[in-house]
C-alpha cells in the first residue's frame, strides 16, 4: 500500500496465496511489502471523485514498473495532457498549460491530489512498511463475511505521517481488503476499502477500490482499473522527464 509508490499502485493486490496456518505479524507485513506480483503494469484508470455533492470523473492511462517508477497521463477532456511521474522517490507533474515540469514538494505535498481523497504525500513514501512500522497481529476477524487477519502497525519513528495503521488481510487469498490510517492521537483520518478483484493471467488483481478522507464531509474517491496488462516490458524511456515533456 504505502509502499506502492503511486496511488494507483495502492490497488495492487497482495500475494494471492492462502495462509495455511496462523502467520506471524512480521510474516504478514512482509507479504504485504513484497506483494508486487507484476514486474510491469499498463492500464486505463478511472478516478471518480464525489465531493460536496458533485461528481467528477477523471480518466487516465497508467504505466508502472516495480515499486519505484510510475507514470500516468490524464485523458479526460478537462485534464487532458497532465502527466505525473513518480521516480526515485520524487513526484513530478507536467502541465500542458505551462509545458513545464514541476517538482511537487513542501506544503503542496499535504494538499489533495487532483481533488481526490489522497494527498500528494500519500503517494510519496517509498520505504517498506516493515522498515517503518512495528506490526502486531490482532488476530482473526470477519470483514464483510470473510475471515481476515487484523494487523496493527505502529510507527517506529515519531516523524511518520501516519503514526498508526490498521490492515485487514483476507485469510484465504491474501487480498488487502481494507486499511485505515490514523493520526498521532489515534483518531482515524482515512480509510480504504477494496471493492473488486479480477483474475488476470491467473493472478488475483485488485481493480477497484475506494478511498475516503474522513475529514472531507461526504467525500470519497473510487479508483477503477481497466484493460490491465501485466508483465509486458516497458521501455526505460517511459519513466523519464523527457517522456513527461514529450
Amino acid at each position: 500500500m504505502k509502499k506502492k509508490l503511486f496511488f494507483i499502485m495502492l490497488l495492487a493486490s497482495v500475494a494471492s496465496f492462502a495462509f495455511a496456518q496462523t502467520p506471524t505479524a512480521a510474516e504478514l507485513l512482509a507479504r504485504v511489502d513484497a506483494n508486487e506480483i507484476f514486474n510491469t503494469i499498463e492500464y486505463d484508470g478511472e478516478m471518480i471523485i464525489e465531493h460536496q455533492n458533485r461528481r467528477f470523473v477523471k480518466t487516465f492511462r497508467g504505466w508502472g514498473r516495480g515499486n519505484a517508477d510510475s507514470f500516468i497521463e490524464f485523458t479526460n477532456p478537462e485534464d487532458r495532457g497532465i502527466r505525473y511521474l513518480k521516480t526515485d522517490g520524487r513526484l513530478f507533474v507536467y502541465s500542458p498549460d505551462t509545458e513545464r515540469i514541476t517538482l511537487i514538494s513542501g506544503h503542496m505535498l499535504r494538499e489533495s491530489m487532483m481533488g481526490s481523497d489522497m494527498s500528494y504525500e500519500d503517494t510519496m513514501d517509498n520505504a517498506s512498511l516493515a522498515s517503518r512500522y512495528n506490526p502486531i497481529l490482532l488476530g482473526p476477524d470477519i470483514l464483510n463475511g470473510r475471515p481476515v487477519w487484523m494487523l496493527e502497525l505502529n510507527a517506529k519513528s515519531r516523524t511518520e505521517s501516519y503514526p498508526r495503521r490498521m490492515l485487514w488481510i483476507d485469510q484465504e487469498n491474501g487480498d488487502l481488503l481494507r486499511y485505515e490510517l490514523f493520526a498521532l492521537s489515534g483518531a482515524k483520518l482515512k480509510e480504504y476499502n477494496l471493492i473488486r478483484v479480477e483474475v488476470i493471467d491467473g493472478r488475483r488483481f485488485p481493480v477497484e477500490g475506494e478511498m475516503r478522507d474522513l475529514l472531507r464531509r461526504g467525500s470519497r474517491t473510487t479508483f477503477i482499473m481497466r484493460n490491465v496488462v501485466l508483465d509486458r516490458p516497458i521501455a526505460d524511456s517511459v519513466f523519464t522527464q523527457r517522456n513527461l515533456r514529450r
Binding site: E78, D79, V93, D97, T98, E99, T102
Partner: protein, 430 residues
C-alpha cells in the same frame, strides 16, 4: 393723527419691501471693513462646505466606480454555491451550473437597459518561484471591458503603463505596478503559478508578462494578475461556463429592475447582486448625515459673527432707529431692514464662499488629489481609487449657498427682532 388718516400708508406700502431691501443694501456698505469680515466668516464656512461636500461626493463616486468597475458591475451574477464560499473564490461553481456564458449573456442582453454583459473569473493563484507567494488571477475579456470602462479612474484610461495587454488565448498576462515593484518582475518575465481548476485539479501555468498596468486602485495594482478570460476558462476547465457575469446598464438607476429580471431569468440557484448592496457603498450613504451636522456647526459658528455684527449695528444706529420710528416706520419694517441687511451679508459672503469653493472643487475635479500619497495604503481595505477627483456640480454649490443663507438668516433673526423693542423717543435721546 395716524398714517392712515394722512393717506401715506398705501403709497408707502407700495414701495414697501423693495424700499426696505434698498435701504438694507445701502446700509451694509456703511462700514466696509466690518462687512468684509462678515463675508469672510460666512465665506469660509461655505467654502468649507463646498470643498468638503465635493470631496465626500468624490469619494462616494470613487467607491461607486470602483465597486462597479472592478467588482460588481451594475449587477453581478454568481451561483449561490459560489456565494456561500465566496471568500475562497472557488471556480468549481459556475453560473447556471456551467451553462454557456454566451447564451446566458445573449438572453440577459434582451432585458431592457442592459448595455454590456461580461464574463469574469477571479481566483487565487500561488506563485511558485517568487518573493510574492499569492496573487489573484483575474480573467476578463480585456478588449471589450477596456472599451466599455476606464479601468484607470484617475487618468480615465485603460491604465496600461508599459507593454501591451495579453493577446486573446495566449499564455500572457499583465500585472499591476505595485505587484511588479514588489516582485521585481517586468515585461518578458514568466510567472510560474498554480491554481485549482473547476474539477479540483491542480493547474500549473507559466504565462509571460506582456504588460504592466496601474489602475490607481491599490488592491488590484498590488494583487491582481490580469489574463484573457477565454485562456483562463480553458486553463480552469470551465468549458463554456463562467464563474461570474457582470452586467453594465445604460443607467445605474436601472440596476434594480435589471437585478429582478436577471434573478427571474436564472432562478434561485444563482445570486444576483446589485452594486448598491456593496457594504462600503451602503456605509458611505449612511455617513452623509454625520457630515451635515458638522456643516451646520460650521455655519452656526460663522453665524455668530453676523449676529455679533447685527447687534453692533443696532447698538450703533440706535439713534437712527429712533429717528426711523419717529418718522413712522413700523417695528415690523425696522426689523425687516436689519434682517435684510444680515441676509445680504450672509448671501454675499456665502456667494464668495461658493465662488472660491467652486473654483477649488473645479480645479480638483480635473486634477485629482492623490490620497494614496497622503495616507499611504490606508485605503487598501476600502474599494477606493488612490486618487480622488472632487465632485464638481452645481447642486453642491447651490446647496451650500442655501444652507449658508438659511442658517445665517435664522440666527440673525433674533438680534434683528431686538431692534423692534427700541423705544424711538428713548433712542433719540441717547
Amino acid at each position: 393723527m395716524n398714517n392712515e388718516q394722512l393717506g401715506i400708508e398705501n403709497k408707502y406700502k407700495q414701495g414697501g419691501t423693495a424700499t426696505l431691501i434698498k435701504i438694507a443694501y445701502r446700509n451694509i456698505w456703511r462700514n466696509k471693513r466690518r462687512t468684509i469680515f462678515c463675508f469672510a466668516a460666512v465665506g469660509v464656512a461655505v467654502f468649507f462646505i463646498v470643498v468638503y461636500s465635493s470631496m465626500i461626493e468624490g469619494m462616494i463616486k470613487s467607491i461607486n466606480d470602483t465597486v462597479q468597475i472592478y467588482e460588481l458591475g451594475h449587477v453581478r451574477v454568481v451561483s449561490s454555491t459560489f456565494e456561500a464560499e465566496k471568500e475562497y473564490l472557488p471556480v468549481q461553481y459556475p453560473v447556471a451550473d456551467g451553462a454557456s456564458w454566451r447564451e446566458l449573456a445573449a438572453s440577459i442582453s434582451n432585458i431592457p437597459g442592459v448595455r454590456h454583459v461580461f464574463p469574469r473569473i477571479t481566483t487565487f493563484a500561488s506563485l511558485q518561484e517568487s518573493t510574492i507567494k499569492h496573487a489573484i488571477l483575474w480573467g476578463i475579456n480585456i478588449a471589450d471591458e477596456m472599451a466599455a470602462n476606464n479601468f484607470n479612474l484617475t487618468d480615465r484610461s485603460d491604465g496600461l503603463i508599459e507593454g501591451r495587454w495579453p493577446a486573446p488565448g495566449g499564455n500572457e498576462i499583465a500585472i499591476g505596478r505595485v505587484f511588479a515593484h514588489k516582485s521585481g518582475m517586468t515585461i518578458g518575465d514568466e510567472i510560474f503559478l498554480r491554481t485549482t481548476s473547476a474539477h479540483f485539479s491542480d493547474r500549473f501555468w507559466s504565462p509571460m508578462i506582456t504588460g504592466i498596468f496601474s489602475f490607481d486602485y491599490i488592491k488590484i495594482d498590488e494583487q491582481y494578475i490580469i489574463a484573457d478570460f477565454e485562456r483562463l476558462q480553458r486553463l480552469l476547465a470551465l468549458g463554456e461556463g463562467t464563474q461570474s457575469l457582470v452586467i453594465f446598464a445604460d443607467d445605474e438607476k436601472q440596476s434594480a429592475s435589471i437585478t429582478a429580471a436577471v434573478q427571474n431569468l436564472l432562478g434561485n440557484d444563482n445570486v444576483v447582486t446589485e452594486w448598491s448592496d456593496n457594504y462600503w457603498v451602503a456605509v458611505m450613504r449612511m455617513v452623509m448625515p454625520l457630515y451635515t451636522i458638522i456643516f451646520l456647526i460650521f455655519l452656526i459658528v460663522a453665524s455668530f459673527l453676523i449676529i455679533n455684527t447685527v447687534v453692533m449695528i443696532i447698538h450703533e444706529r440706535i439713534k437712527e432707529i429712533g429717528m426711523m420710528g419717529c418718522l413712522g416706520m413700523t417695528r415690523n419694517e425696522i426689523v425687516k431692514v436689519f434682517f435684510f441687511e444680515s441676509i445680504f451679508m450672509a448671501a454675499f459672503g456665502a456667494f464668495a464662499g461658493v465662488i472660491v469653493g467652486g473654483i477649488v472643487a473645479g480645479i480638483f475635479s480635473e486634477y485629482p488629489i492623490r490620497m494614496g500619497d497622503l495616507y499611504g495604503n490606508t485605503f487598501a481595505e476600502m474599494p477606493m481609487s488612490q486618487s480622488i477627483f472632487l465632485a464638481f456640480n452645481f447642486f453642491i454649490l447651490i446647496r451650500a449657498w442655501i444652507m449658508g443663507v438659511v442658517v445665517a438668516s435664522l440666527f440673525t433673526l433674533i438680534p434683528s427682532i431686538k431692534s423692534a423693542f427700541v423705544e424711538p423717543v428713548e433712542a433719540l435721546r441717547r
